[in-house]
């Protein structure tokens, strides 16, 4: 075939393209996550200056432990949002799975932690599957489906739990230990969260099916034409989000020890906020897992920094809101800069 172009010995232009490529990639990466990282750094520094104990081992540990759960949720959410969908049911799924695992351990204290984790995953996956099926086969907008299942799953949770509350003393000590202990001082929750972030991040960046998720989010119609199995991928995305929410449920149970039907209520908005703050475009197609994770970390840090800063209770929520706006604002500014630079370096027919 005369059409197959030489790939090994890249012709002159392609070389200079590669250089351009590097710079562009760098620029965009910096652009997307820069704002958040800066905000995070600034926050930590200020807090530490005001109250050095904020950087004490104990407090950092508490911080990341709290972050671990929301990070896991944010990763799942990011996957869904990138495909131009959204999953508002995560809070309810978390509650449901937490309670499921809780009552399992209550009934059979012997169950090893690993099994508990798997049960949580599976449980969430099923909830996610339901969402996915409704979106895929019922072609109902994800926002509607998951807003619905937000109510439904929560309701089921209440039915099941009733007034029952599973207290720390009912849970096997091994499981509670898992909530705080770890290897070489690194708590399990954090290890798990990191693994989730790395795997998901790598997958979305360097695997074909991962990139296809972006394609679907960027232009669904074109994705169909490109022969991407849109339906299956959508389904998968929701299953992943559900499964991670389930996993987060187990972590939640282990961390907080007390579980009732209302666990994780209202968390969905925080998670979406984290993802958005993390620079994932609400209408899909762009953004990274790293970004989402950092976004989650930032929000949690705010949550625990403000009391340390001794800022009046009543200001906390307001400040969180303001910071969300600030974060997406800066993100937009940078994005605009890129667009401008693109417009200038326009293509022209070489003659």
């Amino acid at each position: 075939m005369t059409t197959a172009p030489p790939t090994s010995t890249g012709p002159a232009p392609s070389v200079e393209h590669d250089k351009a490529a590097e710079s562009r990639v760098g620029l965009i990466l910096r652009a997307r996550e820069l704002g958040i990282v800066l905000a995070l750094a600034a926050l930590v520094v200020v807090t530490a200056v005001v109250n050095p104990r904020f950087l004490s081992g104990q407090s950092i540990r508490d911080l990341v432990l709290a972050a671990a759960i929301i990070v896991v949720l944010a990763v799942g959410q990011a996957v869904v949002v990138i495909t131009r969908n959204i999953d508002l049911s995560v809070g309810s799924v978390l509650g449901l799975s937490a309670f499921a695992v809780g009552s399992l351990l209550q009934a059979a204290p012997g169950v090893p932690v690993v099994v508990a984790l798997l049960v949580g995953l599976a449980f969430g996956a099923v909830c996610g599957l339901v969402n996915g099926v409704l979106v895929r086969f019922g072609n109902v907008p994800a926002l509607v489906v998951t807003l619905g299942t937000l109510y439904v799953y929560r309701g089921i949770g209440f039915f099941w739990a009733g007034g029952q509350q599973i207290n720390a003393d009912k849970l096997p000590p091994g499981f509670l230990a898992f909530g705080t202990a770890g290897v070489l001082g690194v708590p399990w929750l954090i290890i798990i969260a990191l693994v989730v972030v790395l795997v998901a991040g790598l997958y979305l960046r360097t695997y074909r099916s991962g990139r296809e998720l972006y394609a679907m989010g960027s232009n669904p119609e074109a994705a169909r034409l490109a022969g991407i199995p849109v339906g299956r991928r959508t389904l998968a995305a929701f299953v992943v989000s559900g499964a991670l929410a389930g996993l987060a449920g187990v972590l939640f149970a282990a961390r907080f020890g007390t579980i009732d039907a209302s666990a994780g209520t209202g968390m969905e908005l925080n998670v979406v906020a984290a993802v958005v703050v993390g620079g994932v475009a609400v209408f899909g197609g762009s953004g990274t897992i790293w970004g989402a994770a950092i976004g989650a970390l930032l929000l949690t840090t705010i949550g625990s920094a403000l009391p340390v800063l001794g800022i009046d209770q009543f200001w906390q929520q307001a400040i969180v809101g303001a910071l969300i706006l600030l974060a997406i604002g800066t993100d937009r500014v940078v994005a605009a800069r890129i667009a401008a630079s693109l417009r200038r370096r326009e293509s022209h027919v070489v003659s």
Binding site: L134, P141, G155, L269, Q313, A318, V320, I324, L325, R332
Partner: protein, 354 residues
């Protein structure tokens, strides 16, 4: 080459459309409920129902317009809360209620303008922006009123909200609701402005190329949404004669649910206000009836959720199976002529001045 008369066809389209379906469901439900649920059909219950309906329905009106343009406003419930808190603070401060109410509504407009600015001027996604202001406004509400709950609003006003027209069972509150509903419906459906909203929702760029001031329109929609939400806050405060920072927490989801239930496309460009009003009514009367029937709170949320999903799912499945049928029904003798009544270009009245 004119197309065949469409009026019957359009009528059919109306009837089979999904918001019409919701209206049908609503009527059906009300009839069934009044026979099966004791006390449901009582005039007193009706006034309770209207009181529960009011805040959701109010905020759903501008929300419909916003969602039709493809945006969303999740901060309405927080705006309600902040308005309520400010109302309380000013009432405590001894200001006359006649000043407080307009000031609160104005405040709401300003809060809406803030949303609008972020969405239009900075071009940020409204979902993200209003999640931010959802937290911000609720937070400010707590900053204003803190942990206190201001009460003892004048009976002359609280009774206005909870009262009825004479000795009829019809609550006074119904009047402003109906009026506003009509206004919004007319604006959305039979004015050029309303048309431009649909155009914006379906293809903002094309709308811009047709001379629509897309950003300006969106901005004002947010202002209106804020003002109405604040008004809802005032009514809320008077109804419970208690101003608190946490009033109406979480109501935004109910409002969005009502709008979607009413058949408005979350992607913009499609929907009717009738559907939305029916949606809000269905939501509240369903909850009211279930409560009267001692159905547990859990069941309420499950039913609400299912209702929401089904309301969108059902019409889709219907149309799908319909299409499937058409596909199977083959190969029918192809129509003799092309889609167009007379293919040969007939000498047209205008432009061809040869």
């Amino acid at each position: 080459m004119s197309s065949p008369d469409l009026s019957p066809r359009r009528l059919l389209g109306r009837l089979t459309s999904w918001d019409a379906a919701i209206i049908g469901v609503l009527i059906l439900f009300v009839i069934i409920a009044s026979f099966t649920v004791d006390n449901f059909a009582s005039s007193r219950n009706f006034s309770f129902l209207v009181l529960d309906l009011a805040p959701i329905a109010l905020m759903a009106l501008p929300m419909t317009l916003i969602i039709v343009t493809g945006e969303i406003d999740l901060s309405v419930a927080s705006t309600l809360g902040l308005a309520s808190a400010v109302m309380g603070a000013m009432w405590e401060g001894g200001l006359p209620i006649e000043t407080i109410i307009p000031v609160c509504v104005l405040l709401g407009a300003v809060l809406g303008a803030v949303n609008g600015t972020f969405v239009t001027v900075f071009g940020l996604p409204s979902l993200a922006v209003t999640i931010g202001t959802l937290a911000l406004y609720r937070g400010l509400a707590f900053v204003v009123l803190g942990d206190r709950a201001v009460a003892e609003f004048p009976a002359s006003y609280t009774d206005l909200v909870t009262g009825r027209i004479g000795d009829t069972g019809i609550p006074l509150l119904l009047i402003p609701l109906v009026v506003l509903g009509l206004v919004f419906a007319v604006v959305l459906h039979v004015t050029p402005f309303g048309r431009s909203l649909f155009a914006i929702g379906a293809n903002a760029e094309a709308a811009r190329f047709s001379g629509t001031r897309v950003t300006r329109v969106k901005f004002w929609l947010y202002v209106v949404s804020g003002a109405v939400a604040a008004l809802a806050g005032v009514l809320w405060t008077l109804r419970y004669s208690s101003a608190r920072a946490d009033n109406g927490t979480g109501l935004e989801l109910a409002v969005v649910a009502a709008v979607l239930l009413g058949g408005v496309s979350i992607f913009g460009g499609r929907g009717t206000l009738w559907g939305v009003i029916a949606g809000a009514l269905l939501l509240t009367s369903l909850q009211n009836a279930l409560r009267l029937a001692d159905v547990s709170n859990e069941a309420l949320s499950v039913v609400t959720g299912l209702l929401l999903i089904v309301s969108v799912l059902a019409p889709n499945l219907a149309s799908n199976s319909h299409a499937a049928l058409r596909r199977r029904r083959r190969p029918d003798p192809p129509p003799p002529a092309s889609p167009n009544p007379d293919p040969a270009p007939s000498p047209t009245p205008a432009v061809r001045s040869s």
